[in-house]
């Protein structure tokens, strides 16, 4: 418990450091940050509108500390400013309209890749040199080394156009009204298959190899030899003794990836015209939409920190040793 509280404290400090940085960065830019930020839309805005925006951003002539407090207050109320490229939509609505799809695609493909990859790694290491171990790692590395773009296009061409099994783009059929009906969920799932499949294909090899290697190192441990000497069944040794220990580094890597899911999958979103944060981020950077860029980065940071905290919680459950250290 003490361990978790300490970690939580650490993440809060990191979070605070991150928003502070976010606050100072535009102010450290030479010249008037507001004019810079609004350079694009300035022409369409009346001076009083600009003043109101300055007010909203806290970029007023108030003393710096007051601006800082205002800024933090805004962040905690979920107010991250107005998107410039999609003026006058608030940044928070831009993000929240996309994040659901990003989470759906990212989390689904990550979880499938992690579970399947680790399972393959466990079995490959356990039956070292056998079929699975000699065929899968090279195959998956081969697939994973294709340029993602090419692979995604190929999948789209084969399964979408030639075979026609899956839809070509978007997260659900155009014109369908989102609802909690079975047909809508099935439609969304159907649209999810190809984008998720391509992500799983390119990432699963890494998970498998990572798990396989730690697992091989773990099987050399004395407690595995002892478990074998105890006459336990192979399955129990493999999962309870070897994999339980070999899994620990994988959990950390999973936490990292989970956090970055929020950043979206730009290439996937592009190829499959799938809605998501990745495209928004690219867009905002190209359009010099500072508020949106900052808002997305802040969201990513928060997600990474939260995911890491989640991993800490899981880790404590899985590894009794960290409970004391």
């Amino acid at each position: 418990m003490r361990f978790l509280l300490r970690r939580l404290g650490f993440y809060l400090i990191a979070f605070w450091a991150c928003i502070t940085l976010n606050f100072f960065l535009p102010r450290l830019m030479p010249g008037d940050p507001v004019s810079r930020m609004f350079a694009q839309v300035q022409t369409q805005m009346r001076p009083d509108q600009i003043a109101a925006l300055r007010q909203l951003f806290g970029l007023t002539n108030k003393p710096l500390w007051q601006q800082y407090l205002d800024y933090i207050g805004n962040i905690f109320r979920g107010n991250m400013g107005i998107s410039l490229s999609r003026f006058p939509t608030p940044v928070s609505s831009v993000i929240s309209s996309e994040i659901g799809w990003t989470l759906l695609l990212g989390a689904t493909s990550l979880i499938i890749a992690v579970v399947l990859g680790n399972l393959l790694g466990i079995i490959a290491a356990w039956r070292r040199g056998k079929f699975l171990d000699s065929v899968f790692p090279p195959l998956l590395v081969f697939v994973g080394s294709f340029p993602y773009f090419w692979l995604a296009m190929a999948a789209l061409y084969l399964f979408g156009i030639v075979l026609g099994w899956f839809p070509l783009n978007h997260a659900f059929t155009d014109g369908v009204e989102p609802s909690f009906s079975f047909s809508y969920v099935a439609d969304v799932a159907n649209h999810l298959v190809l984008p998720a499949l391509t992500i799983v294909l390119v990432s699963i090899g890494g998970w498998m190899l990572g798990m396989r290697n730690t697992m091989i190192a773990t099987t050399a441990e004395d407690y595995i030899t002892m478990a074998r000497a105890k006459g336990l069944r192979s399955g129990r040794i493999m999962f309870h003794y070897a994999a339980r220990n070999a899994m620990l580094p994988s959990i950390t890597a999973f936490g990292m990836s989970l956090g970055f899911v929020v950043g979206g999958a730009l290439l996937t979103e592009t190829v499959f015209a799938y809605p998501g944060i990745g495209y928004q981020l690219l867009n905002s950077v190209q359009a010099l939409d500072y508020p949106l860029t900052q808002g997305i980065f802040l969201t990513i940071t928060t997600a990474v920190l939260a995911a890491n905290f989640l991993v800490d919680i899981i880790y404590v459950r899985l590894d009794p040793r960290v409970r004391v250290s």
């Binding site: 441990e221 004395d222 407690y223 030899t225 002892m226 478990a227 074998r228 000497a229 105890k230 006459g231 336990l232 069944r233 129990r236 309870h240 003794y241 339980r244 220990n245 899985l318 590894d319 009794p320 040793r321 004391v324």
Partner: protein, 345 residues
Amino acid sequence: MSTILQGGPHAGPRAASNPVLSIKDLRVSYTTGLGTVNAVDGVSLDIGAGEIFGLAGESGCGKSTIANAVMRLLQAPAKITAGSIDLNQCNVLTLSDEELRRTRWRDMSMVFQSAMNAMNPVMTIGEQIMDVFTTHEKMPKKEARERAAHLLSLVDIKADRLKSYPHQLSGGMRQRVVIAIALALNPSLLIMDEPTTALDVVVQRDIMAQIKELQQSLGFSVLFITHDISLMVELSHRMAVMYAGRLVEVAPSNVLLDDPLHPYTTALMNAFPPLSGPRTELLGLPDAPPTSAGRPSGCSFHPRCPLAMDACRIQDPVLRPAAENHDAACLLVPEFVVPPERLAQ
């Protein structure tokens, strides 16, 4: 039958006629990029029921290799090239995987050289004891927990420790838990491969005393491996001294202590003062034991032997009777011939 073979379990260099463990001409080699090491090179030994048999020798002489061969835990690059290992009259080397799995721990169990790391760090002590019962005896969880608690009480550990993880125990406790696990199914043979080397001397003596007590009440046989000869003499009934993959002397422990015949045994004894703690250099023995570089001609010990003669460089001594209850492999030791009047009996 000769009188030597008729003695009680602890009477002679050979065990009683129905040994619990019988190893015959065991040969194990490791083949690596550096060449082939014959780590065990024709070892035969018998361990009788209820007997504590000690196996002593320098580091690298092949003690653990024998232990792992008996448990059939050897993995590549190790290879058993010849010999047989009979446990209760049943050849361990020809068992199928499933038969082997059932035999392990029920008939023979082992306390590992590195017992400190022998427990799974992410499972409680209790789970690691209980899975022996649930696997081998199909026992319900609750009963297994009771048996586990009882087992811990045998080694003076409180039952509430069942919920502890290995890292929460001291080294001595961990070692006692490992011993308790080894006794879970009342095996007929317990192999202990340097079970106490990582512990301080006081704890070491404590644990050894406890093992002797348990052995007397439960009656299992022990193959006890160490390079601490003084500890071994105290504990074991009979012992063998091993050098470069071979047994060079076998005798009841007190006989070996009072009257060592092989120069290597003498050197090994001198190397260990009675209360030895950390490993010390073998006094008066230059160089190291032969390794992959190959075995010297003649007696493998001759390059380091203070008493080596010309013949030792040429002739390879075999293990043979040197006295009524004493075997040695040394050209300096005359072969013991059973007196004809005894043979006539």
